[in-house]
Symmetry: C2
Subunit: 444 residues, 2 copies
């Protein structure tokens, strides 16, 4: 696990004033990476670091400061828009770059004048997905989600017998992963109307979101050589948010016996910023099992994982309907949950499990956490859960109701870390947000 | 559908003598693409075309002949080892390259002297997977396989209600796809011993092969815009063989509710040569539905597909145990089946289905056909089927028996097209073979 260092010091401030704004996701203690181009110029893609409401453009920054040689070397691929190359750097090297960026952005830095010219307003940037994503694997780590959804299908036996032993996962579709802001059409597909035996082809009527974390992988193990729990934490580069949109009616008809397919592959949406594992270091928590639950198998166990395998991240779902947007009304919060509480498995366990059969991970692979639902009924990370399978509509502040998503609905996922008592010992480290709007289905 | 042209003429012969050998997979009518380097030199990867037991090295060939400008342009990326760039070319362009290669390799060609120096013996070549594979989707198209396997789990209700409506598929793991000849260790994983409630962690005892075709995709539709049946055939670049190795005991414990994961992702193996759809044109057959079966939905229907959507490809599984190899005994054929007979869906239908929800395909994506089992009991494309779920061992010619694969077993899949009566009107167009050996499981 990354040790705390001077970059985590809660007293640090930046010469970028907005980094100190109340509730800001991107203070100087965060320094997440994103890939962008300047909207008006449509020029080459480059990697930037979010600071306050600005982006430090690493392409410009490379040339205006006399960086130490090792830092300059690492800035090269980042300036060219290649986050994967940086992800593959050793943890020592990545820490060195973080320390250099932290120092340069601190109040009083000698580089302020030069770097101030390298700032781009986030509102002027066109973001892309943060890296070249290879394979995408989606997990199912929230036992509360697994239980709630299982209950809809099997009231007497909601949780399958393998759940407490196997970190259940499946392969997802990588090509249709979009960055926040990419709206998409409601999918069409085969749907079995209730009580019938012959499916119809129609737009999905049960379109849903799923509140997930995205974990970006930086390891590349040789096929046949698993990543042990001792090395698994180092396989993780950082985290973002993921909305794993799901067409529940398509899913119900297609998913036996090989799992979800077209119900998910029409679109998945990720947040633009990757918050590094180093930035998240102050928010680690012990990993524990409830009394009576089986202990994880040895290949899913390590002391470091028991001590601090979990991460205290607050997650939120917000919805803004077209009616709300037209009336200038803000989005309404539908639910909140916490990653440490929702997830039955840690990210390191997902890495160790994924590779224990010899499967090789590659730099830029993405893991979805699965829907992060908390233990309470109003902590469900999907409308399927909040509406009890579509039976109890969710009431919105303006009197609208939702069982599933309607055209024009905008879903926003947010995530952030903060010390539970709100004390200033840890500043807020935010993941930012991922948002997209449901467009009407294609006609014909 | 590709029209027949002069490259399909069964009377054509090549100045490469082995191309006329009896039973040769790679006569001049085939011209499949593969990616290779010369073993002894370990130099840059390049694309070649198989002819007889040789490879025409397109890197060398580019410089020794005064090709027409358009052909020379297309040879550029191929010389650099980039098959994806060629896959993205229009069908007119790809046909033009095929015609130029066919002419140059024909008996009497003016280019014989120059191109003879560009031949590399296949035995001297190190092959790689043929292209950069993006997403890998595995289907489940053999109704006989679905029924046989379903019967093992649900004797009274073997085929699920969605099967005859939905071309069932799921996302596979792309990173662990290897080329033929890449041996792999038996995977370890969680297994539930019969009659027990707690899993153990152990090497798979029910390791199996799956006889599949690999279809390489050349389309790149915009997300949200499906590929209709009219355009679906043009989305296909060509075919190879795929062994989708499966750990049945791992699969049985892990696969509910989200499908196969670690039971498959340890290794998949493809043949090195991609036989183009144009080369397969003489072997197309009508697509039909058995009486009483539902007709495919309109989005899975076209006249061209009804006329010639199926492909007459004979498929074979061969096994050589370590004992057989040590005794110098040849591999034994375990089963044979035919793609047109085994598959309930055509490749064009898989393309149309995959994209009907808006999912975007990319050049280099790979589709697995699913296990191609024929209607007869001895036509099963896996040991799971041939051994009735591990209950009836398969007898080998040397007296050995197999329920599942043992360490040291080499599995070879072969495929070829030939006119049913063996008449010379169509020469044999082979897919070559895919082979790999099971190595002992990693210890500890």
């Amino acid at each position: 696990m990354t040790q705390l260092n001077q970059t985590h010091d809660a007293q640090l401030t930046s010469w970028v004033p907005s980094a100190q704004a109340l509730g800001c996701d991107f203070p100087i203690q965060n320094l997440p990476f994103g890939r962008f181009q300047i909207q008006a110029k449509q020029d080459d893609w480059r990697i930037g670091v979010a600071i306050g409401d600005q982006i430090l453009d690493l392409r410009s920054a490379l040339s205006v400061v006399a960086w130490p040689a090792e830092v300059a070397r690492m800035l090269g691929p980042l300036a060219a828009g290649d986050l994967n190359a940086h992800m593959a750097e050793s943890s020592v090297n990545r820490s060195a770059l973080r320390a250099a960026l932290s120092t340069s952005l601190q109040t009083g830095s000698a580089h302020q004048a030069a770097l101030a010219k390298c700032l781009v307003a986030q509102s002027d940037a066109q973001m892309s997905v943060p890296c070249r994503i290879g394979d995408y694997t989606d997990f199912f780590t929230s036992i509360h989600h697994a239980t709630s959804v299982g209950k809809l299908f099997r009231p007497d036996n909601p949780l399958l017998p393998n759940y407490k032993y196997v970190p259940i996962g499946y392969h997802g579709r990588a090509s249709s992963i979009n960055v926040s802001g990419t709206n998409f059409k409601r999918p069409l597909g085969q749907i079995l109307p209730p009580g019938q035996e012959t499916p119809v082809f129609a737009p999905s009527k049960r379109l849903d979101y799923e509140l997930e974390l995205a974990a970006y992988i930086r390891a590349s193990n040789v096929q046949g050589e698993p990543i042990s729990m001792v090395d698994a934490e180092d396989a993780l580069f950082g985290l973002g948010l993921l909305n794993d949109w799901s067409a529940r009616d398509v899913q119900a008809w297609e998913y036996q016996p090989l799992g979800p397919f077209l119900a998910k592959s029409f679109a998945s949406t990720v947040s633009p910023w990757v918050v590094t594992m180093e930035a998240l270091a102050p928010f680690r928590l012990p990993f524990t099992r409830a009394e009576g639950d089986p202990q994880p198998m040895p290949y899913l166990t390590s002391k470091a994982n028991s001590d601090s395998g979990a991460i205290n991240i607050t997650l939120e779902v917000w919805l803004q309907t077209k009616t709300m947007a037209d009336a200038g009304a803000p989005a309404a919060r539908l639910s909140t949950s916490n990653f440490a509480e929702a997830s039955y498995w840690t990210l390191a366990q997902l890495v160790a499990h994924h590779t224990v059969n010899g499967c090789n991970l590659q730099v830029g692979d993405m893991f979805g956490s699965g829907t992060q639902s908390g233990p309470k009924l109003d902590e469900g990370g999907s409308l399927l859960e909040l509406s009890k399978g579509g039976k109890q509509p969710v009431e919105l502040p303006n009197g609208e109701r939702r069982t599933f998503l309607e055209d024009g609905d905008t879903v926003i996922l947010r995530g952030y870390c903060q010390s539970p008592d709100g004390s200033p010992s840890h500043v807020r480290i935010g993941l930012g947000e991922v948002r997209a709007t449901v467009l009407p289905a294609r006609v014909g």
